[in-house]
Symmetry: C2
Subunit: 210 residues, 2 copies
Amino acid sequence: MDNTEKPTTPELADSTEQRIFDAAHQVFVQKGLDGAKMQEIADHAGINKALLHYYFRTKEKLFEMVAKAVINRAFPAVQQLIEADMPLEQKIERFVDFYIDLISRNPFVPLFIIGEINKHPDQFFEKIIPAAPPRPERFFRQVEEAVAEGRIRPISPRHLLVNVLSMCVFPIVARPMLRIVMGMSSQELNLFLKERKEEVKSFIFAALRP
Amino acid sequence: MDNTEKPTTPELADSTEQRIFDAAHQVFVQKGLDGAKMQEIADHAGINKALLHYYFRTKEKLFEMVAKAVINRAFPAVQQLIEADMPLEQKIERFVDFYIDLISRNPFVPLFIIGEINKHPDQFFEKIIPAAPPRPERFFRQVEEAVAEGRIRPISPRHLLVNVLSMCVFPIVARPMLRIVMGMSSQELNLFLKERKEEVKSFIFAALRP
DNA sequence: GTCTATAACTCGATAGAC
DNA sequence: GTCTATCGAGTTATAGAC
C-alpha cells in the first residue's frame, strides 16, 4: 500500500521532470537522503539514471528540492487552520480531524522532517527551512480568552497545542513501535487508528472542562 | 550537548571493545544504519577503522548488537512500571515522570527504533525484536476497574495509554520541528520541555475526572 | 532529451607489518 | 591488539552517441 501524496505542479504535469520529481519525493521521504539510491529513483520514474543528473545535476540538489516541497506543503496547511477566524472549540475539532487525515495520507512525512534534521542539521537549517513558519499567536490568545471567560479550565496554550499535536501525530508515526508495545496485529492497529479522531477529541474536551 | 546514555557492560568497561561499542551506539542511534559511517565510529572511539572489523566482523553485526541493546534497554523499563502492583493514579504519575526523564536522556532512541523499522523491517523483525515485549493487559484492567467504579470517566484503555505515551514522547522526539512550528529559540524550548511533566500529568487527570 | 558506457569516488572489508 | 595500505563493491556523476 502506498498512500503517499505526490506533489504536482500543474503546468509540468506528466513531463519527465515532474515524473522524476514525484519518484524522488516518494523514495526520499521513505528512505531519507542516505537510504535513497539514484537507481531506485530512476526505476520508479521509469527512466535512466543519467536523466536524473540532466534535470537536477546532483543527488543533493534533488533532495533539497524535495525537502523544500515537503516542508512548504506540510506547514502552510497547518498554519491556515490555526490562524483561521473560528471559535476555539470548533478550531480544535477541525484541527484534529484535518491533521489526523493529513498525517494518515502522509505517514512518513513527520518522520522524514525530524529524522533528516537530526542527520543533516546544517543542510536543513541553511537551505530548507520554510519562509513562513506557522504563527500560533492567535490560537494562543483564543485559549487565554477562553480561560479568562471560564469556558475552559486554566491551561498553558503552548502545552495545549503540543498535546493536541502529539496525540494526532505520534500514534501514526510510531505505528511500528505501537504494534510491539501494545501487542496488536496490523489489522487491529488499523482499526485502532480509525477510532482515534473521536477519542482524541473527547479526551481533549474532557481535559478542558472547567 | 550530548545527553545520550551509553551502555556499559561493567566487566569490560574502558576496554577497546567497549569504547568501540559505545561509539557505535552513539553514531548509529543518531544517524541510523545507512547514515552511519565506520570511519566516523572509529574516530569517535579514537581508534582505527580496521579494529572495528577485528572486534565486530561487519557493520551489520555491529549494528545488530547496538540495536538489540537499545531495544532491550528501552522496553523492559517501561514494562516493569506498567505491570507494577500500584494504584492506577499513582502508576500514571510515575509513568509520566519516569518516561519523560528516560526520553530526555535518550532523545534519539524512539526515532531510531521507528525509523529503522521503517527502513529495514526484515532485519528488525527477524533479528532484533525483543524476546519479551511489554504486556499492558494489567494496566488495561486497572483502567476498566476505575471506570466501573466511577473513579474516572469512561475511556478506552488503549487510547489512554497511547495518549499518555504520545504526550510524553512526541515533544522530545520532535524537538526540531516544534522549534519551527512554535517559533521558539533553543532556550525557550528547553524551558518548555522542563514544564512538561507537570503539565502532562494535570492534563491527563483533568481528562479523567468523572 | 534520452540512452549506453564508463569514469571517479565513497566506503566496507582484508592483508600484512609490527 | 593495533596500525598502514590497499582492494573491491556499490554509487554518484560525466562523456558521448543517437
